[in-house]
């Protein structure tokens, strides 16, 4: 397995506050990696900075190429794609237009294949293809955000809190899709508060606290770690119990 994304000694600052401190991580091809941690730990900031939304000090390499001089749009063109926490859909445009724009940089034939792929993964979207994105339910919006990202045939997908605000049953469906994507050759970097679900689907995990990684390893090992269980798995499994 070769390395796809390599982040070395990354620092991200919000004004005077350093939200991410000296973070290093790797994601290999065909791998699902998750970053778990409490609200405000800096997970979203880290993902956004890897995408180029915020400036980042340190090195981010994708497929061995340093991304420093590339803006968001150039990073997208290289196969790195972010599904952000707030989804950032085109609310006043319909589902089909949203998906079509996901393939903005792709050929027509490629977009046609993309539509087929996304509609197979998310049949619900096909039903709603003429509906405005802003009128979809939370779960459908998450599906659309993921679908839109997949239209651009990314090599790696970064998902920021895909379960946020969704009913448990919909979350389960989203995580099934994440597992399926890996089988199709897309790597996933998953940021989640719902630690239990994330650790079930991931290969490896990093635990983030106050801007730093405090723990990393195989997801199965992290899941059984005493500290993690106490801090992050306490309430998350109550729904299923």
């Amino acid at each position: 397995m070769s390395t796809l994304l390599e982040v070395t000694d990354a620092h991200v600052s919000y004004g005077k506050v350093e939200a991410v401190r000296s973070v290093s991580l790797t994601v290999a091809e065909n791998e699902i990696v998750t970053i778990i941690g409490a609200n405000g730990a800096g997970k979203t900031t880290l993902l956004s900075a890897i995408m180029g939304v915020f400036p980042l000090k340190g090195r981010v390499a994708f497929l061995g190429e340093d991304l420093a001089r590339y803006e968001i749009e150039d990073r997208v063109a290289r196969g790195l794609c972010l599904v952000p926490e707030h989804r950032e859909l085109f609310a006043t445009m319909n589902v089909e237009d949203n998906l079509q724009l996901g393939a903005f940089r792709m050929s027509k034939a490629h977009a046609a294949r993309g539509f087929e792929h996304v509609y197979t993964l998310f049949p619900k979207l096909k039903e709603r293809r003429k509906q405005l994105a802003g009128t979809l339910s939370g779960g459908e919006q998450q599906m659309l955000a993921m679908g839109r990202a997949l239209m651009g045939s990314p090599k790696m997908l970064m998902l920021d809190e895909p379960s946020l605000g969704l009913a448990p049953i919909i979350v389960a469906g989203i995580f099934e899709i994440v597992a399926k994507l890996r089988e199709e050759g897309v790597s996933v970097l998953l940021v989640e508060q719902n630690a239990k679900a994330a650790l079930q689907v991931a290969d490896r995990a990093y635990v983030m606290e106050l801007g730093e990684f405090v723990l990393s390893g195989k997801a199965s090992e992290i899941a059984t770690d005493q500290r993690v269980a106490a801090s992050y798995l306490g309430f998350a499994d109550a729904a299923a119990s």
């Binding site: 001089r69 749009e73 997208v76 989804r87 085109f90 651009g152």
Partner: protein, 346 residues
Amino acid sequence: MNTTILLFLLQDGITNGAIYALLGLALVLVFAVTRVILIPQGEFVTYGALTYASLAAGRMPGTAKLAVVIGLVAFAFDLYAMRKTLHAPKIARAFALHVAFPVVVLLASMWAADQRMPAGVSLVLSLLIVASIGLSLYRIVFQPLAHTSVLVLLIASVGVHLALQGLGLLFFGAEGQRGPTLLTASATLGSLRFTGQGMAVYGITVAFIIGLWLFFGLTLYGKALRATAVNRLGARLVGIRTTLSGQIAFLLASTIGALSGILIVPITTLYYDTGFLIGLKGFIAAIIGGLISYPLTAVAAIVVGIVEAFSSFYASNFKEVIVFTLLIPVLLLRSLAAPAVEEEKD
């Protein structure tokens, strides 16, 4: 009132209304893509008209030099933004856009002013000059403010209007000018006389409206511009360059503005500050269209033109008062019709 006057007023109103419609469309376009309420649209009108008139009269317009100066500033902005990641193709593109383009146009205008070229050449050069100004202005003023609120953009827009109007006085003086007509043919139908110029106004307006409608509704690029308008970050995340969208919008708007100016300058005398008032009337139409709808904007523009024509006949003193107060009930209706959602402002 007899029918002749009625028809004449209607015709006059529709001709003016068509111009307002063009301007209204450009305003809608710019607002949709960049959220900028383009107050300096009126200056694009003036610049277009007076540049055209100057060139046709064999004078070198100051606007051509202005295009070079703001182009250089824009290029400097680009260089500064790229200072850490100097990337040859990007620098070359910025140079071509902000430096080479206006310089070539300047040289061409200098040459054309000497030669007394036909109206068509003056027209094209004027459009290019104003387009170049619009393009570089976006880079200097609005691109750095792209993340701010509509209000900040509006105030910046007013600042640009002030500066451009002052420069207009500097370039063209306080005296009004007229330009040569584009089409000299004319036809008479009953008591109405249709001039070639009038027909050009109608034709170009209709073509633009249809073109824009098709562009935004059907093409991928049009949709990308709309997407940028709806959600900037979302657009960037699918690989749409928002700065490029903004540039295209400003390019289109400044071209449309200049074109409107060139269309009317053979009909009415234009002063350095006339554009502002004309632009504001396009504005009224754009607002009636909610800054969203192209067809509604076009219809509203015609209504504004007709109201103006009739009020200048019956209460010429209060023409402007009537036209501007027309906006208030419209704004009120717009506000009431808007859904009661919370606006998140900062």
